[in-house]
């Protein structure tokens, strides 16, 4: 094994002059990249820059239109993800691809379960290996639990475990941390560092720049499918990196406006869902941005779902502008002025096979109607309007959303909900997978909405985002609200202490 300090001139994996187009979209143009053993290499770029496409090309999911993939200096052609795996390349894709009806353990060891005599699957060994992996990652997930119903963060953990479960020489991770909180990320990085020290090459994608600076040594930047630079991170600042990605300087990332809160717009009283969360009470006032923090699994998403009416509540009340919401009825919640941007954009936020236009239009079915019939002109202009406002990068508004990059899909979800002009906006991981430039835009948008009198409840695993944007931070721990911290007192320490149950 090569020692990390003497990487030498031989890259384990290299891309040379890769180009790839989808129809008229040139996702990659003549991109080259070298991965050395014992290094963690960052791949940076805005949404739609081509990062995921690069990875899929590397792993054999896409065939490049031009260019070569070199493994140990020799050209290889992978015909599918299986080939890449056999060559010792583990890939975590941006969107989890678990089989919902299989257990976590079965998902992790899909197709290569430990065997007993007569080629029978050794379920016990599979389960134990899974438990060991989970321990390495520092999470508690029952190996026998089916993948269906796992939160995005948990799905991401399972994908990570899957990639770690075989001894890869090359580990490729496309936004593995997007849904994770600080402590899970720290664990993951511990594991990655250990792999790196054993000589593995790691390619890492994240829109959280501090993570890139934390764990990576070099960075390759893409812009609009073109290679911009490959360089050491040493001596670079976040602003330098942003300039590479965006091509210009960036305005403030957390443009929080000071607003004097108005009346209570969202009032949650003693909300309980048995076995999930208990006795949760809080208010959000007009003009306020309230952050909801906590570790993965603390119950934040579940509270949001129950407030909006996706899940029924077992006890408690929800009021929007003084109007009590019917239990388990999102349509009445919407009518009262509530909007929820859900965490899982692929399953909950978007109908992937429908066009951008129709997806945004879905929340406006009551609004873009004339004499009981769809007013297609109104529907289109409403959708276009919001797609443009949020700067969604698309070829045609009638394209299906599954052709968009992850971040642009997220923008469509935001567009679809902002188009309802809500009084109360709940956003669950609003910037998951969104690039810094757009993140700043989303923050500006949330801040502007608040200034216009919208009450915003923001669930986020990105602690700097919570600290930067929230007027108050509510913290959940194991299904209970454990702290309410005003902006002036909210720091990484105070929030983490409450989130881990140390301060409660």
């Amino acid at each position: 094994m090569t020692h990390p300090s003497d990487t030498g001139p031989a890259p384990v994996l290299a891309l040379k002059g890769i180009s790839k187009s989808f129809g008229a979209v040139r996702a990659l143009r003549d991109v080259s990249l070298e991965l050395f053993p014992g290094e963690v290499h960052a791949l940076a770029g805005e949404n739609g820059a081509g990062k995921s496409t690069l990875i899929k090309t590397l792993a054999g999911v896409h065939r490049p239109d031009a260019g070569q993939v070199l493994l140990d200096g020799a050209p290889v052609v992978f015909h599918g993800p299986g080939d890449a795996r056999d060559a010792g390349i583990a890939v975590i894709y941006q969107e989890p691809t678990l089989f919902p009806d299989l257990s976590i353990a079965e998902n992790i060891f899909m197709g290569r379960q430990p065997r007993r005599a007569l080629r029978r699957i050794d379920h016990r060994a599979t389960r134990e290996a899974t438990t060991a992996l989970m321990k390495r990652l520092g999470v508690e997930l029952d190996p026998d639990r089916p993948a269906r119903g796992l939160s995005i963060a948990d799905q991401q953990i399972v994908e990570i475990a899957k990639a770690l479960s075989f001894d890869a020489r090359v580990l490729i991770m496309d936004e593995p941390t997007a849904a994770l909180t600080h402590s899970e990320v720290a664990r993951l990085f511990g594991v990655v560092r250990a792999l790196r020290d054993q000589g593995a090459a790691v390619l890492f994608i994240s829109h959280r720049l501090e993570e890139i600076f934390d764990i990576c040594r070099r960075v390759t930047t893409l812009r609009d499918g073109a290679w911009i630079a490959s360089e050491p991170l040493d001596g670079m600042t976040e602003d330098d990196l942003i300039r590479r990605m965006v091509g210009r300087d960036l305005a403030e990332l957390y443009p929080k406006q000071d607003v004097t809160p108005g009346e209570v717009a969202l009032s949650v009283r003693r909300l309980t869902r048995e076995g999930v969360f208990t006795d949760v009470s809080f208010d959000v006032r007009r003009g306020e941005i309230v952050g909801l923090a906590g570790l993965v699994g603390a119950g934040r998403t579940e509270v949001a779902r129950a407030v909006f009416g996706i899940d029924r509540r077992d006890a408690g009340e929800v009021e929007v502008d003084g109007r009590r919401l019917t239990n388990g009825a999102p349509s009445t919640a919407m009518a009262a002025g509530l909007a929820l941007v859900p965490e899982d954009r692929r399953a909950q936020g978007l109908v992937m096979d429908m066009s951008i236009e129709r997806n945004i239009g879905l929340t406006g079915l009551g609004a873009t109607v004339r004499a009981g019939l769809m007013d297609r002109g109104a529907e289109r202009s409403r959708s276009l309007d919001w797609a443009v406002k949020l700067r969604v990068k698309y070829a045609r508004i009638a394209d299906t959303v599954n052709t968009l990059s992850g971040g642009n899909q997220q923008k469509v979800v935001l567009a679809k909900w902002l188009a309802t002009r809500p009084k109360v906006l709940i956003v669950d991981e609003p910037t998951r997978g969104i690039d810094v430039g757009t993140k700043a835009e989303v923050h500006r948008l949330l801040s502007q909405l608040a200034a216009d009198g919208v009450a915003v409840l923001m669930i986020s695993s990105d602690l700097p985002e919570v600290l930067g944007m929230a007027d108050r931070v509510l913290v959940m721990h194991e299904g209970r609200l454990t702290a309410e911290i005003p902006r002036t007192d909210a720091t990484e320490e105070t929030v983490m202490a409450a989130a881990t149950g140390r301060a409660a």
Binding site: S21, F22, G23, A24, V25, R26, D65, I310, P330, S331, A333, M334, L340, P342, A347, Q348, G349, L350, V351, M352, D353, M354, S355, E357, R358, G361, L362, T363, L365, G366, V369, G372, L373, M374, A395, R396, A398, D399, T400, K416
Partner: protein, 336 residues
């Protein structure tokens, strides 16, 4: 044009073209096909399939299916016959039969939406149950002596044209269905449910209510078809319309309605219905046995599930080739 639409339109076109080809071939090569009387028979015999295909299309678009439609039609006919035998007025009987259809549909809908059972399983069960009740109600009787005004309406045609009287109300129902599916928020929500039920729910679509409405309307239309069937063939028997569900599903899928939901047009479905109707008519004229006709229907069913998929694969392959030769990112991709 959205991908999904292009695909559907293309398959629609294929089915439409196929329909025209079959018509032309039949006109020129099949004796007795082209005269107005036979054409009116063709339309009249296809109407039961067409009537049920309307709500079935909406159901399949929303990702569900109802296989009990033919049994509901049979039950409605049997009840009609039994009540007629009891001396009840036809004006009272028909609304009662339609009401019965609503109940049959509601039962299906409630089992699917409240208990969360798959509609395929639920309606296979009620397929057997409703037919069983029909047999209990009417036994092996055949009731034929309905009022002649009703019989004439259901079997007759306008003058010497090829247009059956019953075709006119069908056109009204067709127009309603087209508008409901393609021009109302309700229809929009059905496509969303079929393509991504969870996302539709998160967007405030009342998924269970919409499905319940669909199953209920399907029951109503099936009962209406049962009434029409008994009058059209002047015979109410418990086994009326047996196996009709196969023809309906085959026709709807043939018309490009994706079995997985979320894709398709009513125009395509109706083209599929009349293509199937024309084929059945030609086979009857050529003295093809009923059993062989079922084989053909089954083969069409397989073709109709395969066809759109193959068409899509070709489209993807073409898009790939286009991508490889795309000269300049500024050129918009040709819509094909």
């Amino acid at each position: 044009m959205p991908d999904s639409l292009t695909r559907a339109v293309r398959w629609d076109t294929v089915v439409g073209a196929l329909f025209v080809v079959v018509l032309l071939l039949s006109f020129t090569t099949v004796d007795g096909f082209g005269n107005a009387l036979n054409l009116s028979f063709l339309i009249g015999n296809t109407l039961p399939i067409a009537l049920i295909a309307l709500p079935m299309t909406l159901l399949v678009v929303s990702g569900e299916i109802d296989l009990s439609v033919a049994s509901t039609a049979g039950l409605s006919g049997a009840v009609m016959g039994a009540l007629w035998n009891q001396g009840m007025a036809i004006e009272t009987i028909i609304p009662l039969c339609l009401l019965l259809g609503v109940v049959c549909g509601l039962v299906n809908g409630l089992l699917v939406t409240r208990l969360g059972l798959p509609s395929l399983a639920v309606t296979i069960g009620t397929l057997a149950a409703y037919r069983g009740i029909a047999q209990i109600v009417l036994g092996s009787d055949a009731v034929t002596d309905f009022p002649s005004a009703y019989l004439d309406f259901a079997a007759g045609r306008i003058g010497d044209t090829f247009v059956p009287y019953a075709f006119l109300p069908f056109l009204v129902l067709l127009a309603i269905a087209v508008v409901a599916l393609h021009a109302t928020p309700f229809g929009r929500s059905l496509f969303a449910i079929g393509a991504g039920e969870e996302a539709a729910r998160f967007a405030g679509v009342r998924v269970r209510r919409q499905k319940l409405i669909l199953f209920t309307v399907t029951g109503l239309m099936s009962a209406l078809t049962g009434v029409f069937w008994a009058l059209h063939y002047a015979s109410a028997r418990y086994d009326n319309a047996t196996g009709l569900e196969l023809s309906v599903v085959a026709a709807v899928l043939l018309g490009g309605i994706d079995f997985d939901g979320g894709r398709g047009t009513l125009g395509g479905a109706i083209a599929g219905v009349f293509l199937l109707g024309a084929l059945q008519n030609v086979m009857s004229l050529r003295d093809v046995s009923a059993q062989s006709q079922i084989v053909v229907t089954g083969a069409l069913l397989v073709l109709s599930v395969l066809g759109p998929r193959v068409a899509r694969q070709i489209a993807v392959a073409r898009a790939g080739r286009r991508a490889a030769t795309a000269p300049d990112p500024k050129t918009p991709a040709p819509t094909s």
